[in-house]
Amino acid sequence: MRQSVRAAAAISVLALLAAGCGTKSAAGGGGSSSPSPKSGASAFTACMVTDTGGIDDRSFNASSWQGVQQAEGNGITGKYLQSTSPSDYTPNINQFLGQKCGIIVTVGFLMGDATQTAAKGHPSQKFAIVDFTYPKPLKNVDALLFNTVQDGFLGGYLAAGMSKTHKVATFGGQKLPTVTIYMDGFWDGVQYYNAKHHTNVKVLGWNEKTQNGNFTGDFTNQSKGQQLTQTFISEGADIVFPVAGNVGLGAAKAVQQADQSGQNVNMLWVDTDGCVSAPQYCKYFISSVTKGIQTAVKTAVTAAHNGSFKGGNYVGTLTNGGVGLAPFHDFASKVPASLKAELNQVKTGIENGSIKTATKSPV
């Protein structure tokens, strides 16, 4: 009994200490929490809310954050809030609404509703949303969408041209429009190559006509990506195109293992230039099918800062540089010059509309 009395006393001392530091720091922390500008009147904060993938997802959250960081300087500072579930979207946006941010960047179509509500409730606050457009464009929201069926098409054409086994594979993280649009483009690109070269390169993992294919179920579980890629390789695919964020790293691991056991397997990375975001696997990346989230977010932030912010919908295409194939890096010498020339022709064809890139996902 005496023991527990002593323990209780110790605890209450601890509690008092904690209470003491609480009041002290509440006063001290006041400076950091008040939104009053620290360095002159031109302080402009770009505030970003991630979706559940988190800031290090090597995909659209990471790209958006890089865009914010690139815009930093000249009176712009960036900060972010991470969402752990869809229920966090509204409180996270509210947190930034209370901080008088210059622009609030929300990442991902899942935040479409929360962003719309906040934008309508605060018409003078500027927003940007990545991977989403509104049927009726909002004046204070820059909605950034990317027509990745176009560079997915180029990726499919490149993969078909590079495949020795005449089998290529793709898979997604989840069956979402921003994922399947890439896979549609990849499928179309392979079919176009077949028609042009009278070959029969097969696509494993996706069929545009039935809209059915392989998905790992999330964007985080790398071992599922590794497993699925091993299956594709054992079925004879020698080029794999994962559209699954971090899960793609599992695919890269499977490709590495196959390579070490003497097979000739390579892959395409997605969203960002793989040789930059996952350089350890660069020698397996023929190229990357990218979308220019970074540039688009950076443009939106700087526009909000210098007063040229317009709002409304923006669609990134091959023509405006919003989407495109990354450099070949290690494969610069391995991709035949004829194939490179054909890719340029296809790109021009897509740009001038002579090659149709159909997709069932909205653009």
Binding site: S4, A7, I11, K24, S32, D88, T90, F109, P135
Partner: protein, 439 residues
């Protein structure tokens, strides 16, 4: 609970360990969980929280680049190194406090107005209560799901299936919410019942499989989680559930009539779901402590053989308790769908099902304890948003603090050693089991 603490604290281990010789000894995992729930006093819980806060503070300080830079010049300015570390951790915790309990600045700005009505009209009064509202909103689904785990545990069952029961409730509730037009009040009640029924159906499957086939509820609930997650993804893509004009997996908004009303004006997110959660906790307390069914649940949980010998239906209790537990987890979905989000996506289940286990453990599988633990986690989560928003401390630190609390709770010998506490704080009918692990 501390007054029970001294009971048999120093008794020799062998003489108080009948579990070791009993043929029907429960599995090791159950013994550990029993020990966690029965063997920890409030003092240990508070001490674990304090230890987690201190370690969390060290983590905050020493992942901050400013602090690391100050420490790299420790020999030149040792005072500055300590000051920077203190400022970093204290600033983060202060922001957390402001986001979870009360922010002095909102009070100050409300006091600037001459009249109370002016302060109300500008919304500065509601701004004062925003942190508490956020804490309650974040706690609500955890109260429901935590009660679900706690109730099942009192009958001796591990409910790892909060996720699947949440999804079951969410699917039925959302469908009733947007698909069935009903008048005000009635619609909200029907959707609420739907959330309970959807979760209860999944819980019933678990209980029935255990009662009739002997399938272990841990395996069944974990597997059902996967089944329900994929069912959710598939259903949200069908024309019956998918919002027209959207290609991603999201349902239409539920009717305004089906939404639960805000309790303190539209600018605060706190809604009637919080009151329903408190009522549910009271209901679970009554069920366990005052009803015959609850007595049977507890008897089955304490010793199924004795309960059977006493003429109780063990299998019947399993089915019933899992059905009610599933319904409670389904109500967590109501808190999200009817209370805050008003729509359902393929990620809406979040981590409530897993967090609920932690909440129930921290709350020692008692209704009041579960409510308090859920409020603590709600406050940590609400505070985490402010902490990251103001000081850019990664919100993951909140998860780390939660994990540390649970780790310290789950390792009472470690905490006792750290704080010089002695003896098992076991009490109640499960005392022998608790001793079996605790010594």
């Amino acid at each position: 609970m501390t007054e029970q603490g001294g009971v048999g604290g120093s008794a020799p281990r062998a003489s108080t360990d009948p579990g070791g010789t009993e043929p029907g000894r429960p599995p090791f995992g159950k013994v550990i969980i029993q020990a966690i729930i029965q063997g920890n006093s409030v003092v240990v819980t508070v001490a674990a929280f304090a230890a987690a806060i201190v370690i969390g503070g060290l983590l905050i300080a020493f992942t901050d680049p400013v602090v690391l830079h100050a420490w790299s010049q420790f020999t030149a300015a040792p005072g500055n190194a300590f000051a920077q570390a203190w400022d970093s951790a204290a600033g983060a915790y202060a922001a957390m406090f402001e986001g979870a309990i009360i922010n002095p600045h909102t009070v100050a700005s409300a006091l600037q107005y001459n009249s109370i009505s002016a302060a109300f009209q500008t919304g500065s009064v509601s701004a004062i209560f925003d942190p508490l509202s956020e804490t309650a909103v974040n706690a609500t689904p955890l109260i429901f799901a935590g009660l679900s785990v706690a109730l099942a545990f009192r009958a001796g069952l591990f409910n790892i299936g909060g996720t699947s029961q949440f999804i079951g409730g969410a699917l039925l509730a959302t469908w009733l919410g947007f698909g069935v037009p009903l008048p005000l009040v009635l619609h909200a009640i029907v959707v609420l019942i739907g959330a309970f029924a959807g979760g209860a159906a999944i819980g019933w499957v678990v209980g029935a499989l255990k009662a009739w086939t002997g399938a272990h509820e841990v395996i069944v609930t974990i597997m059902l989680n996967y089944v329900m997650i994929y069912l959710l993804s598939w259903l949200l893509g069908t024309s019956a559930m998918q919002r027209p004009g959207r290609a991603d997996l999201i349902t239409p908004f539920i009717d305004g009539n089906a939404q639960l009303p805000h309790l303190a004006g539209p600018s605060l997110r706190i809604n009637a779901s919080f009151l329903i959660a408190l009522a549910a906790a009271a209901g679970v307390w009554w069920l366990l402590q005052r009803s015959t069914i609850g007595f049977e649940f507890r008897s089955v949980g304490a010793n199924p053989r004795a309960a059977r010998t006493a003429g109780m239906s063990v299998t019947g209790s399993w089915v019933l308790v899992m059905t009610i537990a599933g319904g409670l987890a389904g109500l967590a979905a109501s808190a999200v769908v009817q209370g805050t989000d008003h729509t359902l996506t393929f990620q809406s289940y979040g981590t409530y099902g897993i967090d609920a286990i932690t909440v129930a453990l921290l709350g020692r599988a008692r209704p009041l304890g579960t409510v308090l633990a859920a409020l603590l986690f709600g406050a940590l989560h609400a505070g985490g948003v402010a902490m990251q928003g103001l000081t850019q401390t990664p919100v993951d630190i909140v998860t780390v603090i939660q994990a540390l609390i649970v780790m310290f709770i789950a390792a009472p010998p470690l905490v006792r050693a750290m704080f010089r506490l002695r003896g098992a704080r076991a009490a109640g009918p499960e005392q022998a089991l608790a001793k079996g692990w605790n010594g």
